[in-house]
C-alpha cells in the first residue's frame, strides 16, 4: 500500500505560531469569521453569557409572579398587552416564562458555556495542538449556534408567544397548537433546537477527532488534564444523544406542520413515545451539563490545593462509568408516566448505581484538599462551592431515584431545587471557577480578585437562600410550573416562604451585576496577566497570555501528567508538563520511578 494521504487538518501540517511574525489577518477573519479556536471560545462565551442573562431575567419574572402573585411589575407594561397587561403577568405568559427559562439556560447558556467555551478554549491548548482538527467546521459550529439562538429569541415576538409546553415539551401539549394555544412559537422552538443540534454535532466531531489524533508527543491518555477527559466523554454523549433529540423534534415538528400524528393519540400516535425519545436524549444531556464542570473543578481544586489530584485514574474511570450509566436510566424521569413497576425498579437501581462513581469523584476531591496548601483564590472558592453544592444536589437526586419517594415528590418544587443544585450550584459555580481561572489566559488581563470574591460570597449565600427552601416547598406539595400557589388552600400558608425566595432571587440576580461589571471593566482596565498567574502545569500556561494564533511556536513535548504539584525535591511547587526533566532538579529519575 502507498503512503498515507496528507489532508488539510492533518496533524503533520499544523500551522504553528510564528514568533516575531505579525498577524496580518483582516479584522473580520481575526474576530468575526475566525477559525482560531481561542477566538471561537471567546465568541461562545459572549453568546452564552448573553443568553445566561436572558434566562436569568426570565427567572426574575417567574420569581416576581410567585413572590407577589398578581402584583404589577414596575415598568412591566412594556411586555405588552398579550403578555402582561398593566404589568401583571398572564398565566399563558407565565407558562412561556418557565418553558423558555429552562430552554435558554440548558441549551443556550450552560451547554455552550461548558462545551462551546471550555471545549474550544482548552482542547487544542491542553493536548498541545495548533488548533482544532477542523478549524472551519469549528467556525461553522459557532455561526450555526447564533441563528439558533436568534430563532429562539424571536419566538417571544410572534403571535401566540413563545412555546409554553415546558422545556421537556411533553406531547400531546406540544404536538397540537389547539391544546397549548401556541402556534408559531412551538414550531420555532423545534426549529431552533434542530439547528442548535447541528452546531453541537459539528463541535463534537471536532473535539473527538482533536483529542484522539492531535495530542503532542508524550501526551498519553493518562496524562491528559481532567477537563479534556471530561470534554472527551461529553463530546461522545453529545454525538450520540443529540441526534435522538433531533429525530424526536423532527417528528414533533411534522405533527405541528404537515399534520402527521406521531404523538397525537386521536390517530394512533403515542404521547409516551415522546417522553422515551426525549429522555433517552435528556438524561445523557444531564451529564453533558455536569461532566465538563467536574473536569474544571478537578483542575482548579488540584491547582488551588497545590497537590496532585487524588486518584487521577479513578477520576477518569468515574467519568466514563457515569457517562455509560447515563444511557440506561432515562426511565427515572417517567416513574409517574405509567410504567411497569418492575421496569421502574430496574431504572431505580441503575440510577442509584450512578451515586457510586459520583461519590468516588467527591471523595477524590476531598482527598485532593486533604492536608493541601489551599490558596483561596476566586476560582478555588467557586470550585469548592461546586463540590459542596454537588453533594446536596446529588443526594436529593437519590431521593427522586427511589420510586416510592418519587411518587410523593414528583413534579414538585423538590425537583426544581434538585435541578438547580446540580445545574446552578454545580455547573454554574464550576463555570465561574473556569472563567475566573482562564479569563487571564484568553483576554490577557486578570479579573479583579476583590470583586470576584464579593461576587462569589453574595452568589453563594443568595443562591442557597433561593434554592434550599424549595426542597421544603416541594415536600409540602407545591407543584412546579405553578402560576399562583395561593389558588390552593394548602399552599397559601407558604406564601411568606415564596416571597422570601423571591427577595433572595432578586438579590441573587443583582449580585450578578458585579460579575458583569468585573468582566467588562477587566477586559479594558484589568491588570495585565502574566503567562502563568496560577502557577499551573498544563501546556497553555507556558505560552504568553493570550497565546498567539497557532498557539505553540513548535510542537511541544510532554514529559509528565498535569497535576505534579508540590513534588518532593523539585525546586518549585509546580512542574509544567512541557518542562524537560533536566531542568527539574537532580531527583527527577527517582521521581519517575515513584510514579511508575
Amino acid at each position: 500500500m502507498s503512503t498515507m494521504p496528507v489532508e488539510v487538518g492533518h496533524p503533520s501540517v499544523q500551522h504553528w505560531a510564528e514568533p516575531g511574525h505579525a498577524d496580518d489577518r483582516s479584522f473580520i477573519r481575526k474576530y468575526v469569521f475566525s477559525t482560531d479556536h481561542k477566538v471561537i471560545g471567546c465568541q461562545f462565551l459572549i453568546l452564552s453569557l448573553t443568553f445566561l442573562l436572558v434566562g436569568g431575567l426570565l427567572a426574575m419574572l417567574i420569581r416576581w409572579q410567585l413572590g407577589w402573585p398578581g402584583l404589577a411589575i414596575p415598568g412591566g407594561s412594556i411586555l405588552g398587552e398579550a403578555k402582561a397587561p398593566g404589568g401583571i403577568i398572564l398565566p399563558e405568559f407565565y407558562n412561556s416564562l418557565v418553558t423558555m427559562h429552562g430552554t435558554f439556560m440548558i441549551f443556550f447558556a450552560i451547554m455552550p458555556l461548558l462545551v462551546g467555551v471550555f471545549g474550544n478554549w482548552l482542547i487544542p491548548l491542553h493536548v498541545g495542538a495548533a488548533d482544532m482538527a477542523f478549524p472551519r467546521l469549528n467556525m461553522a459550529s459557532f455561526w450555526t449556534a447564533v441563528p439558533a439562538g436568534l430563532i429562539m429569541l424571536a419566538s417571544f415576538f410572534v403571535t401566540g408567544g413563545a412555546s409554553s409546553a415546558g422545556w421537556t415539551a411533553y406531547a400531546p401539549l406540544s404536538a397540537s397548537p389547539e391544546l397549548s394555544g401556541v402556534y408559531m412559537g412551538q414550531k420555532l422552538w423545534c426549529i431552533s433546537l434542530i439547528v442548535l443540534g447541528f452546531s453541537s454535532l459539528m463541535g463534537a466531531v471536532n473535539y473527538i477527532t482533536t483529542i484522539v489524533n492531535m495530542r503532542a508527543p508524550g501526551m498519553k491518555w493518562m496524562r491528559l488534564p481532567l477537563p479534556i477527559w471530561a470534554l472527551f466523554i461529553t463530546a461522545i454523549l453529545v454525538l450520540l444523544a443529540i441526534p435522538v433529540l433531533t429525530g424526536a423534534l423532527i417528528l414533533l415538528l411534522f405533527d405541528q406542520t404537515i399534520g402527521t400524528s406521531f404523538f397525537l393519540p386521536a390517530d394512533g400516535g403515542q404521547p409516551l413515545m415522546w417522553q422515551h425519545l426525549f429522555w433517552y436524549f435528556g438524561h445523557p444531556e444531564v451529564y453533558i451539563l455536569i461532566l465538563p464542570a467536574m473536569g474544571i473543578t478537578s483542575e482548579v481544586l488540584s491547582n488551588g490545593a497545590r497537590k496532585p489530584i487524588f486518584g487521577y485514574k479513578f477520576m477518569v474511570y468515574a467519568l466514563v462509568s457515569i457517562a455509560f450509566l447515563g444511557w440506561i436510566v432515562w426511565g427515572h424521569h417517567m416513574f409517574q408516566s405509567g410504567m411497569n413497576p418492575f421496569l421502574g425498579a430496574t431504572f431505580m437501581t441503575s440510577t442509584m448505581i450512578i451515586a457510586v462513581p459520583s461519590a468516588i469523584k467527591v471523595f477524590n476531591w476531598l482527598g485532593t484538599l486533604w492536608r493541601g496548601d489551599i490558596h483561596f483564590h476566586t476560582p478555588m472558592l467557586n470550585a469548592l462551592a461546586f463540590v459542596a453544592m454537588f453533594v446536596i444536589g446529588g443526594l436529593s437526586g437519590v431521593f427522586m431515584a427511589s420510586t416510592p419517594v418519587d411518587i410523593y415528590i414528583h413534579d414538585t418544587y423538590f425537583i426544581v431545587a434538585h435541578i438547580h443544585y446540580v445545574l446552578f450550584g454545580g455547573s454554574l459555580f464550576a463555570i465561574f471557577a473556569g472563567i475566573y481561572f482562564w479569563f487571564p489566559k484568553f483576554f490577557g488581563r486578570m479579573l479583579n480578585p476583590t470583586l470576584g470574591k464579593i461576587h462569589f460570597v453574595l452568589t453563594f449565600v443568595f443562591y442557597n437562600l433561593v434554592f434550599f427552601p424549595m426542597h421544603n416547598l416541594g415536600l409540602n406539595g407545591m407543584m412546579r410550573r405553578l402560576y399562583d400557589p395561593n389558588q390552593y388552600e394548602f399552599l397559601a400558608p407558604h406564601q411568606p416562604m415564596n416571597t422570601f425566595i423571591s427577595v433572595s432571587a432578586l438579590l441573587l440576580g443583582t449580585a450578578q451585576l458585579i460579575f458583569m461589571f468585573n468582566f467588562l471593566w477587566s477586559l479594558r482596565a484589568g491588570k495585565k496577566a502574566p503567562p502563568n498567574p496560577w502557577n499551573a502545569n498544563s501546556l497553555e500556561w507556558s505560552l504568553p497570555s493570550p497565546p498567539p494564533h497557532g498557539n505553540f511556536p513548535a510542537m511541544p513535548t510532554v514529559y509528565r501528567g498535569p497535576y505534579e504539584y508540590s513534588v518532593p525535591g523539585h525546586h518549585r511547587d509546580y512542574w509544567p508538563q512541557d518542562e524537560p526533566p533536566a531542568e527539574g532538579g537532580h531527583r527527577t529519575a527517582e521521581r519517575e520511578e515513584v510514579h511508575a
Binding site: 500500500m1 502507498s2 503512503t3 498515507m4 494521504p5 496528507v6 489532508e7 487538518g9 492533518h10 496533524p11 503533520s12 482538527a133 477542523f134 467546521l137 454535532l201 463534537a204 466531531v205 471536532n206 473527538i208 477527532t209 484522539v212 489524533n213 492531535m214 495530542r215 503532542a216 508527543p217 508524550g218 501526551m219 498519553k220 491518555w221 454525538l239 450520540l240 444523544a241 443529540i242 441526534p243 435522538v244 433531533t246 429525530g247 424526536a248 423532527i250 417528528l251 411534522f254 404537515i258 399534520g259 402527521t260 400524528s261 406521531f262 397525537l264 386521536a266 390517530d267 394512533g268 400516535g269 403515542q270 413515545m273 422515551h276 425519545l277 433517552y280 510542537m555
Partner: protein, 206 residues
C-alpha cells in the same frame, strides 16, 4: 515506504493511525446511526402499538420498482469502491469514470423515489393524517414518508457531495498519496446504502 514507516515519519504525535478526516467521518456516521435509530425506534413502537394501520406492502407500495431501486443503490456502492480502488493506485481516469457512474446511479435512485412519491400521493397515500385515503391508517403514511424522506435527503446530499468530489477529481486534486476526500465520500455513501437496506427491509418487505 511501508504505512507504518510513513506514519512515524510524518507524525510523531500520539493518536490513532487514522487521518483526521477519516476519523471525523467515522465519528459523524456514529451520530447518523443514532439519528436513524430514533426514527426506526419510533417506527417500531408505533407499528407494534397499531398493527392494523399497516396494509400488506404490495397493496400500497410498488415493491418491485423499489427493489430495482435498491439494486441500483447497491451497484452504486460497488462503483464507489471501484473509484476508491482506482485512485489508490493513482488511476485518475478510472477515478473519474467510476465517480460519474456513482453519480448517475445515485441520481437515478433519487429520481425513482420522487416518481414513487408523486404516484403514491395521487393514490391518497400521504403523510397528513387528515388527508390519508389509502389502505391502512395514517401512521403508515407518516412513518413511510419520514423514514424514506430522510434517507432520500441523505442520498441527495450524497449526490451533491459526489459531484463536488468529481469536480475535484477532474481538476486532478486527488492522487495515490492524497485520496482522503474520496475515501470519506465512500464511507458516507456506503453508510447511506446500508441504511437503505435496513429501511427497505422493514418498510417494504416486512
Amino acid at each position: 515506504m511501508s504505512e507504518a514507516a510513513a506514519m512515524s515519519a510524518s507524525r510523531p504525535m500520539e493518536g490513532m493511525r487514522v487521518y483526521n478526516l477519516k476519523l471525523g467521518m467515522w465519528v459523524f456516521l456514529l451520530s447518523e446511526v443514532m439519528f436513524f435509530s430514533s426514527l426506526i425506534g419510533a417506527y417500531i413502537i408505533l407499528r407494534f402499538a397499531h398493527p392494523e394501520q399497516w396494509a400488506e406492502p404490495n397493496a400500497v407500495l410498488n415493491v418491485p420498482l423499489t427493489g430495482f431501486n435498491t439494486f441500483m443503490l447497491i451497484c452504486s456502492s460497488v462503483t464507489m469502491v471501484k473509484a476508491f480502488a482506482a485512485i489508490e493506485h493513482g488511476d485518475q481516469a478510472g477515478l473519474r469514470k467510476w465517480l460519474i457512474a456513482t453519480i448517475i446511479l445515485g441520481a437515478s435512485f433519487v429520481g425513482i423515489q420522487v416518481y414513487e412519491y408523486i404516484k403514491l400521493g395521487h393514490e391518497g397515500f400521504v403523510p397528513a393524517a387528515a388527508a390519508y385515503a389509502a389502505e391502512g391508517g395514517p401512521l403508515y403514511g407518516s412513518t413511510f414518508y419520514t423514514m424514506t424522506g430522510f434517507h432520500g435527503a441523505h442520498v441527495t446530499i450524497g449526490v451533491l457531495a459526489l459531484i463536488f468530489t468529481a469536480i475535484r477529481a477532474f481538476q486532478g486534486k486527488y492522487s495515490a498519496e492524497d485520496y482522503g476526500g474520496v475515501e470519506i465520500m465512500g464511507l458516507y455513501w456506503h453508510f447511506v446504502d446500508l441504511v437503505w437496506i435496513i429501511l427497505f427491509t422493514i418498510v417494504y418487505l416486512i
